[in-house]
């Protein structure tokens, strides 16, 4: 095991020679951002590629592509992504451009904004879900609360 020897290049190189060149490297060839287990990330975490989270992230997460939150992972941040699959815990608002998938182990505390939402039985969700596509919904939500209530009251009165 090359990383368990704490010294010298020679040892490392000897070990390296024992390894044969991999036959099929295509599977792992595409390097993406991976936050491994027992790793804590703090701050403005942004990436241009896919992100796989297995550890803890706090601050904010942003990717234009795919975000996967693995079981056991914890995100305490507002999230923006192209697509997402949540199997871990998220505390924060999720703004997903396309599809979000909540698997049975998912726990989400926050609002979700997406085009397509898929929820597996067993997933926990506490928050508001908004999706574009319903006529008038966007304009209604955009108006200030007080005036909307006023309008409603007027409607009732009529």
């Amino acid at each position: 095991m090359i990383f368990q020897k704490s010294t010298t290049k020679n040892v490392v190189e000897e070990e390296m020679t024992q390894f044969e060149a991999p036959v099929s490297s295509e599977k792992v060839d595409e390097v993406e951002t991976v936050v491994g287990p027992s790793v804590n990330v703090e701050g403005d975490f942004a990436s241009e590629g896919n992100i796989i989270v297995k550890g803890t992230v706090s601050g904010s997460v942003h990717t234009s592509r795919f975000l996967s939150v693995e079981p056991g992972a914890k995100i305490m941040a507002n999230v923006r992504a192209g697509n997402a699959k949540i199997s871990g815990e998220v505390k924060g608002n999720l703004k997903i451009r396309e599809t979000i998938e909540l698997s049975s182990t998912a726990k989400v505390l926050g609002d979700i904004e997406c085009r397509v939402l898929s929820v597996e039985p067993g997933a926990l969700l506490f928050g508001k879900v908004s999706m574009p596509g319903i006529e008038g919904a966007e304009t209604r939500s955009a108006r200030p609360r007080a005036s909307r209530r006023g309008e409603e009251m007027v409607e009732v009165g009529e």
Binding site: M1, I2, F3, M16, V28, G36, V39
Partner: protein, 254 residues
């Protein structure tokens, strides 16, 4: 004009036949040139600069990964084209460059397919293949935007050209490999978690492609860049502005 930098280990008798075959092949192609032998007291940058003044256009490194790293970490800024003739064991970079080991490498050299390669910059020197920080309590800051920490010790490997090989544990037979891409550096972080009284266990690595990162620690940690070992408290790693022109093979992995 070609200049060949031979590593010191090629003096061993077992390499005589390969060296002879390579030299014959190079003469056949008409690209034979001056041969210089490296040793611990020779600064490759000075030697290469002298040869460039005398008219050398191409400098060919003959040896293994260690030779490649040793020469290019010092002579990355030299204004010439570099070639590589991998001989012997420990040649993983040549696979990335698409250069076959031994005599076949002369064919690649003669075809002169040139590519620009990125060079990593660490504190005040270059590294070409790989930078390795041995396990210690570290904090890694990426692009001054987010930081990565672990509860226990952490090991960091930054790959530029050399692929990263790792196994989950000692018993794991399936060896995993990640090939670095050209155009950016990849950092592999492997946290260690305590197991039993003295033992430590490696976790799955985290991967972060980056342009600039800073590794800081309260206590000095060991850094190994292209075979050169040093103790540091703060390391700043980024992609160098300049690139090196390298003769590569058709089967290169970038």
């Amino acid at each position: 004009m070609y200049v060949y930098l031979y590593d010191n280990f090629l003096r061993q008798k077992k390499y005589d036949s390969v060296i002879k075959a390579v030299e014959v092949r190079l003469t056949d192609y008409g690209i034979a040139g001056k041969i210089l032998r490296l040793n611990n007291f020779i600064d490759p940058k000075q030697v290469i600069d002298d040869e460039i003044k005398r008219g050398a256009k191409t400098v060919v490194i003959v040896g293994n990964d260690a030779t490649f790293g040793y020469v290019l970490s010092r002579a990355a800024t030299c204004d010439c084209t570099f070639g590589f003739l991998p001989i012997g064991q420990n040649n993983t970079i040549s696979e990335v460059l698409g250069i076959a080991s031994g005599v076949e490498a002369c064919d690649v050299l003669s075809k002169r397919r040139k590519e620009s390669l990125d060079v990593g910059w660490m504190n005040n020197r270059y590294f070409v293949s790989q930078l390795h920080v041995l396990p210690s309590k570290l904090k890694v800051v990426y692009d001054e935007r987010f930081s990565v920490t672990t509860n226990e010790k952490m090991e960091v490997v930054v790959c530029n050209l050399q692929p990263f090989y790792w196994k989950k544990d000692k018993k794991d037979n399936a060896q995993q490999v990640v090939h670095p891409q050209d155009g950016k550096l990849e950092a592999f972080l492997r946290p260690l978690t305590k197991q039993g009284w003295w033992g430590y266990k490696y976790e799955d690595p985290s991967v972060f492609p980056f342009e600039e990162m800073e590794i800081v620690s309260d206590s000095p940690f060991t850094v190994e860049a292209d075979g050169k070992v040093s103790k540091e408290v703060k390391v700043k790693i980024k992609l160098a502005h300049g690139k090196i022109d390298m003769i590569v093979g058709r089967n290169r992995k970038f």
